[in-house]
């Protein structure tokens, strides 16, 4: 019997059943996809880290390594299972020529290395440890994806030629976010090139199980082992960095899935509410004759069970072919995850979960059955929604609106529960339309880099100790040129120093500080402001977290042999130098200078690129980066992706608004057949009734758009913050494009609602008074 009732019911309401099925299908598909991808991603990462025998702790170091000291540390520390020191021959991007192009514009630190003997193996795309022959070079996957290199290309480094024999997976430096990249060559070739590069060491450890990585890092630094390089990387970070790109994609899939589920819920809610209202009298009669609520619920549950069962099954099946393109990136960078079965199982579980959630929700909505009074239902045949505001708003007191507009607004006021559904959809649509646009315009804005620890200048010239012996001398050389160059408008120095810091427990730790004038190219601070006096210091977010310092706290540094007490005046987000930086303005006479960087702006705005390439030639020892180049390399793909996402979001919310409003209005008209017939009998024309429905839609639309816009700029900013902070900016204010947000988006939604309402009420014309007036 159930089957027959379900079939009849579905036949009667094909459009809404199809729509709900489609929403559930998409939600189930996305959830199954996200679940399956998550399992595959973690499986693949684990597999790769296992095949590569990845590092548990790695410190890059420039300068000599005291092997004996390292050995004694390894022997005395129980945590160390294995250790090794690998050579990394840093080569200037400009000196690596692939085909006809060099890597001069690359912001990556590129270097050559040979295959490791013990662990941290570099793998080929089949997950095997590569053993390159002489004359062969294996290029990081990153460059294959960026389109810099193809199989068989010739790579020339200082006159030594190699053939690209393949691409490599590097468990530590795979991700674009990691700023160093390893090229693999044979030992013989490495020796031939050795003199042309700057040698760095990768000091690597494999640790015993259950060792705390932070504790080991502390022990390493305390033993004063070599650490002249970027901060150490631990296994946890390696895992995270490898997962982040695909992780964000999975998070987006889950977010979209969540929104689709919410929309499916809304559709189900108003369909059920409408159905309950339609069957109100019958439900009352059934209750009156003693049918149990649970028995009545069963009918509806059976229908939605059938719909969501079919939709979730189809959703899961649809997710299967879709996995291929989504898995492509994971497979390429990390390889296979092993067995495909767990992925499939989790996908299926995801789809079943959606089915379960839908049924729980339907059960919840059907709880209304209990509230229906049999006597009321039989007598009035419709639920009585009482509201004060509706009572006050009377036609006999109305001086403002025409009667059609009055009736439209009155209906919204007296059936708030019903219209809440449409309101929610409009709020979600406005939110979905505006938030991605705001994120997109924020990231695309020039000032965005100031949220990431970079000031707005044209060029950054870095002289680093890892590349140059005499940092101070070379920096002075650059400085002289800048001072004399008439094209240079402003320039400012930043000196990166390694100083000692007296920790709260009185121990001395190493601490990087960059000294300079931060008022020239200001950045945006998460908390507080830039250092202005010599007794102030600003910390990067990561540093502040590590040191557990906040604005107003004190930091003690050892400067020129004496303790210097500094007050933390600001905290900022930073993506440079591993995110652990500090800014101060005081001067130091002695100390360990790590780098000097100079930021400058040019007078000739047209030829900034030419000026940069000229400096690049002039200062071969320095790293010359145009700010546009580095933001493009750092944020370019994210900007494009977000822009694409925001366009997709605008289109989907427009479509969502259109679809859901058409359905809603169609159902409303179906329910309102009787009052429409009354109005028609009283001499209201179709145009009058259309105006009433448009008024209802526009009333809800206005509320929806206003609330949606407010939410998008408050709650949405928080959500946007969560997304953008994953790119490295801990805080930011939305850069709002007012035309788009306050004019184009609301107009687009309004247009969709008006069109949808017109489509939804097209049935009014054919509605016969006689057919419905007798229903009462």
């Amino acid at each position: 019997m159930y089957l027959k009732i379900i079939r009849n019911d579905i036949r009667k309401s094909r459009l809404i059943t199809t729509t709900i099925t489609a929403f559930i299908l998409v939600a189930a598909m996305l959830t199954a996809l996200a679940a399956s991808l998550t399992v595959n991603l973690f499986g693949a990462i684990d597999n790769m880290l296992l095949s590569a025998k990845s590092v548990h702790f790695m410190q890059m170091h420039t300068g000599d390594v005291d092997m004996e000291q390292l050995q004694s540390f390894a022997q005395t520390n129980d945590s160390v299972k294995e250790y090794q020191v690998l050579e990394f021959l840093n080569i200037e991007g400009a000196d690596i020529v692939i085909g006809d192009d060099s890597l001069a514009g690359s912001i990556q630190d590129n270097g050559l290395c040979v295959q490791s003997k013990k662990f941290d193996f570099l793998l080929n795309l089949n997950g095997e440890v590569i053993q390159p022959a002489d004359g062969e070079i294996y290029v990081p996957l990153y460059y294959m994806q960026e389109g810099n290199a193809a199989l068989g290309d010739t790579v020339t480094i200082h006159g030594v030629s190699f053939t690209v024999a393949g691409f490599l997976r590097d468990s530590v430096m795979n991700a674009a976010l990691v700023s160093s990249k390893r090229f693999l060559v044979s030992q013989g070739d490495f020796e031939r090139v050795r003199e042309h590069g700057q040698l760095e060491y990768l000091i690597e450890f494999r640790l015993a199980e259950d060792v705390s990585f932070p504790a080991f890092e502390a022990a390493y630094l305390a033993a004063e082992l070599p650490a002249n390089g970027p901060p150490a990387i631990t296994y946890t970070q390696v895992k995270m960095i490898n997962g982040i790109t695909d992780g964000i994609m999975i998070a987006v899939l889950m977010l979209v899935s969540l929104l689709v589920i919410i929309v499916a819920f809304l559709c189900i809610r108003f369909t059920l509410l409408a159905k309950i209202e339609e069957d109100y009298k019958e439900i009352g009669v059934l209750k009156a004759v003693g049918i149990r609520v649970s028995q009545m619920k069963k009918l509806y549950l059976a229908k939605y069970g059938a719909i969501s069962g079919v939709a979730c099954g189809l959703g899961f099946l649809t997710s299967l072919p879709l996995q291929r393109p989504f898995l492509q990136n994971i497979r390429l960078y990390m390889g296979e995850s092993g067995s495909a079965l767990p992925g499939l199982l989790w996908g299926l579980l995801g789809a079943i979960l959606i089915c379960g959630i839908i049924l729980l929700y339907v059960n919840g909505v059907l709880g209304r059955f209990r509230k229906i009074s049999a006597a009321q239902a039989v007598r009035y045949g419709a639920p009585q929604e009482k509201s004060k505001s509706s009572k006050i708003f009377r036609l006999s007191n109305n001086r403002l609106f025409s009667r059609n507009i009055f009736l439209g607004i009155k209906d919204v006021l007296s059936r708030k529960k019903l219209y809440v559904t449409m309101l929610m959809v409009l709020i979600i649509s406005s939110f979905l339309m505006i938030v991605p646009q705001n994120i997109s315009s924020t990231i695309a804005d020039d000032s965005f880099i100031t949220y990431m620890g970079m000031g707005i200048c044209d060029v950054n010239i870095g002289v680093m100790r890892s590349q140059v012996e005499d940092v101070a001398g070379k920096a002075a050389e650059v400085s002289d040129v800048l001072a004399e160059d008439e094209n240079v408008e402003t320039y400012v120095f930043f000196t990166g120093m390694m100083l000692d810091r007296k920790a709260d427990d009185k121990t001395i730790e190493k601490f990087r500080v960059t000294l300079g004038d931060y008022s020239v190219f200001p950045i945006t601070y998460f908390k507080g402001r830039a250092p202005q006096t010599k007794s102030e210091i600003a910390l990067s977010v990561l540093n502040a977290e590590d040191l557990e310092k906040n604005v107003g706290d004190e930091i003690i540094l050892i400067v020129d042999g004496a303790e210097k007490h500094l007050t933390v005046c600001g905290i900022y987000s930073d993506v440079t130098n591993g995110g652990r930086t500090a800014q101060a303005t005081f001067s130091v006479n002695s100390g360990d200078v790590l780098s000097v960087s100079m930021a400058a702006t040019f007078r000739d705005r047209q030829n900034v690129g030419t000026a940069i390439s000229q400096y690049r030639k002039q200062f071969p020892f320095a790293k010359v980066t145009g700010i546009d180049e580095s933001t493009q390399q750092m944020l370019g793909s994210i900007r494009d992706a977000i822009q694409m996402a925001s366009i997709v979001a605008v289109l989907s919310s427009a479509l969502l608004t259109l679809l859901v409003t058409v359905l809603f209005i169609k159902m409303l008209v179906a329910r309102d057949r009787y009052p429409i017939a009354i109005l028609k009998a009283m001499g209201f024309s179709d145009a009058d009734i259309r105006r009433q429905y448009l008024t209802r839609s526009i009333t809800v639309l206005a509320m929806g758009v206003i609330l949606g816009t407010i939410l998008a700029n408050t709650l949405g900013e928080l959500a946007g913050m969560a997304i953008v902070s994953s790119f490295g900016a801990a805080t930011f204010d939305f850069v709002v494009n007012p035309w788009l947000v306050y004019l184009v988006s609301p107009l687009l939604i309004a247009g969709c609602v008006v069109i949808a309402t017109m489509l939804g009420i097209s049935g009014i014309q054919t509605l016969k008074i006689l057919d419905h007036i007798k229903e009462a």
Partner: protein, 252 residues
């Protein structure tokens, strides 16, 4: 006296193909201005269909219906709606009210054209009508807070708001007890005395006996008709007997 409604050769067919049913079969009707006409007949004889056809609320399959000199089938949707709103009034068997408006708002609804029109005047007029109909003081009640009889009277007040030339009533007392039915009929007789024509469909001989003329329908036709003296509140019994005799004559 000129006719307010003229129907000629009205045919109304429901359904299609083999399931066709002829509800009205070449019916001719004339209703004079200010006349009170009742239509009686067994269920399915076409009396309500005739009322809806003559009021332009339902399209006819063939034939012609004129309101005064205007042929209804030639009017566009908007013009027809205007005629219904300004020249006609309707009372249905079940009180047809909008649930989200109170009684007063329901009554003034057809006349409240634009917000600029003085709604206070309309409300005043509605209150006078309510007073006359015996439902004074119920203005702010919801439709669920009054009895069926009170609701029906409110429906009549609404139908009278625009001072219609004719009132169509489809079994207006059908859902009421005898006391309420009596009161409603007295109200209709009063309205008719003031010059409003009435076309009323009923099963009740007591109701039909108050009309000036009774049409008896059978199988989609007007089988016969009976003309009575203008009702003056007396001779009820005799009038009822005449109507009953008329019914017996056509076998209904």
């Amino acid at each position: 006296m000129s006719n307010i409604i003229t129907g000629k050769n009205i045919v109304k067919i429901f359904g299609k193909g083999n399931e066709q049913a002829k509800a009205l079969n070449k019916v001719n009707v004339e209703i004079a201005k200010g006349e009170f006409v009742a239509v009686m007949g067994p269920s399915g004889s076409g009396k309500s269909t005739l009322l809806f056809a003559l009021s332009g609320m339902d399209e006819i399959t063939s034939g012609m219906v004129k309101f005064g000199d205007t042929e209804l089938s030639k009017l566009g949707e908007n013009a027809l709606a205007d005629v219904r709103r300004t020249k006609m009034g309707f009372v249905f068997q079940q009180p047809t009210m909008l649930r989200n408006l109170n009684l007063l708002d329901n009554i003034i609804l057809p006349s409240a054209q634009k917000g600029k029109k003085d709604t206070a005047k309309l409300a005043q007029k509605a209150k006078e009508l309510m007073n006359k109909a015996g439902i004074a003081g119920l203005e702010n009640r919801d439709t669920t807070e009054v009895s069926g009889g009170q609701l029906q009277r409110a429906g009549i007040c609404r139908a009278l708001m625009n001072e219609p030339e004719i009132l169509f009533a489809d079994e207006p007392t059908g859902a009421l007890n005898s006391k309420s039915a009596e009161e409603i009929m007295e109200l209709l007789v009063d309205i008719n005395k003031e010059g409003t024509a009435i076309l009323l469909v009923t099963h009740d001989t007591k109701v039909a006996a108050m009309a000036d003329r009774v049409l008896f329908t059978k199988d989609g036709n007007i089988a016969s008709e009976l003309t009575l003296q203008k009702f003056n509140g007396r001779d009820r019994k005799a009038r009822c007997e005449t109507v009953l005799a008329g019914m017996a004559a056509v076998g209904i």
